[in-house]
Symmetry: C2
Subunit: 338 residues, 2 copies
DNA sequence: ATGAAAGCGCTAACAA
DNA sequence: TTGTTAGCGCTTTCAT
């Protein structure tokens, strides 16, 4: 570093106070929406703020208030895979819309297993008021460590084997519906490309699927796991076709994996849905433009992001009696593939 | 708010100083990698930091240092569309890897046209030291406003009609190669699904494409624009087929749009590549598992993210003679679709 | 090469 | 309802 960047920001709170004809405290009260401020004073302060183009210094607020005014979005995925997923994009939009208008910044952090310790140190040092967790895997040491330091946390997606508050889609019921739909079509040899074994989303969708098949008195032995990438969906589909060339339906536990599965089906000359019916999960942006358009289970990921954020902020605000976990509904969307 | 969240973080700099047997100043110097610290003192401080699990309070650092120690990633896209794009995911990974180990946080901000003013006020108030811009559209008022307040900025992707520093893939050359490849296959009626008209990436890829066709003495009149969504790719493909049922090749200016285009081609009974050859752009995660696997132009988006970040940090560090803009190479990846 | 002291701009008691 | 007074934890002169 040859020289360090410095910025000389605009007006301070003191100038706002002067222009408004009140004290710094009053300005602070207005900024923080506190009570005990006369309408007149409030108005004057707002006018002064607008006139001067004032924006409070977050660093000073955090320091004095012993509050970071920021939350972290922790993406715990070694490969950053989830970032490419429309799921993540939707969640991000939801988080953002819930944060809009509040004086809260969103810090993006990616957690590699190697530096989980650093991350925890950072998060425990008051830089953020809470954290949103996404794409948690079963064995992630992050959750217990965060629990230990007492940082308020909400997970997007049920975490395996831990008890932090979470918001999730009703994956079980969604997968159940998928299986029922395929069974109702008269399919008898129904396979599934399941999600990762070490994630609840994988386990839950698989459970729902199995339940649906057992309802229909069908065997649920055709199971291959993928990791929410198109490649893994393709590989799993190849394996399934190899083991059961006669399969007539497949539930792929994520649209993004269904893309790969569809490719393999085409490559092997299977017609969709005539020979093999396919149901996905998510109703992501790829479902409608898949070849053929994908029948899938819809979940509202933006709502998921909003709900996670609401839950975390409510906890930060000291609200009591908050539900430890929330399940969002899913629904079947029928297109051409099944 | 019934109650406000507060956190009582770990050790302060003072305790580190005590344990290390030096003054706060010395600890500060070590933290900031300054000169004039004896090896002995440095060592003692590092030991103390490790022993106490100390992490400096960013708010205090920013306040005292008149520096935010943070940069913003501004996604200027009304719909948040770009978030779902593997392009964005890659850029994010690149940014993150370049930031790793530096004491810099990444703030994620989404800019809606409606609140550009608020955003600019925020950015100009010293909350961040600089900004990375992504997915800039031609008419975005953000860029001139940012230029005016003098915030260091680097754009990912060439901005239209403004002169901020940027890093971009060599879109022109990439598209040129795509066109040449299709021409070299003997295709005569070559169409293109171009990117948005109001983005340089759209214009540049279209220019390269046209140049390639003119080299081959072919007409480049079959042009439809999309907006980097699969749906738009499908719609553009339909239009092209309607206008020119005899087309035998198409260059789709983004893999993510090619997904939609491929669906339409299949639906209309066109075999790929026998009847219509398809070349995409990006070599995103979808290219290899498209139906059929997509021949495409590869760009290294992670490198793009790293380079943008490097460029911004170098400027913040006061380095001189930095290139105003940088172009990253692209390359043709041949798969089955062309 | 190191330490002492003075703030950075704000919020949070407390007093009025 | 409002103003006054201390800090929040760090960086940064300025001495030494």
């Amino acid at each position: 570093m040859t020289e360090t960047a410095k910025r000389r920001p605009g007006p301070r709170i003191e100038e706002v106070a002067r222009v408004a004809g009140v004290s710094k405290s009053t300005v602070s009260r207005v900024i923080n929406d506190e009570q005990y401020v006369s309408a007149k004073a409030r108005e004057a302060v707002h006018a002064a703020i607008a006139q001067l183009g004032y924006s409070p210094n977050q660093a000073a607020r955090s320091l004095a208030g012993n509050r970071a005014n920021a939350i972290a979005l922790v993406v715990s995925e070694p490969t950053g895979r989830v970032l490419s997923d429309p799921f993540f994009a939707g969640v991000l939009r939801g988080i953002h819309s819930e944060l809009a208008g509040r004086h809260m910044q969103l810090l993006l952090m990616m957690s590699q297993p190697a530096d989980t310790g650093d991350l925890v140190t950072y998060l425990s040092s008051g830089h953020v008021d809470g954290a949103l967790l996404v794409s948690l895997h079963g064995d992630d040491p992050l959750v217990p460590m965060l629990a230990e330091i007492g940082l308020p946390v909400v997970s997007g997606g049920r975490p395996l084997g831990t008890t932090v508050p979470f918001v999730d889609a009703d994956n079980f019921t969604g997968a159940l519906e998928a299986a029922r739909h395929l069974a109702s079509l008269g399919r008898k040899r129904i396979a599934t490309v399941a999600g990762p074994k070490d994630m609840a989303v994988g386990a839950d969708r698989l459970s729902g699927f199995k339940r649906g098949l057992s309802e229909a008195r069908l065997s649920a032995d055709l199971v291959e796991h993928g990791d929410f990438t198109p490649e893994s969906g393709a590989k799993a589909m190849e394996l399934l076709l190899c083991k059961a060339p006669d399969l007539d339906a497949v539930f792929v536990a994520a649209d993004i994996m269904a893309l790969g599965a569809l490719q393999v089906l085409h490559a092997q000359g299977k017609r969709v849905p005539e020979d093999v019916a396919v149901v996905g999960f998510d109703d992501s942006v790829f479902a409608a433009t898949a070849t053929p358009p994908l029948t899938t289970i819809r979940q509202d990921v933006e709502e998921l992001g909003r709900t996670m954020t609401w839950r975390l902020l409510a906890e930060l605000a000291g609200e009591h009696g908050l539900p430890p976990s929330l399940l969002l509904p899913t629904s079947l969307v029928v297109r051409s593939s099944a």
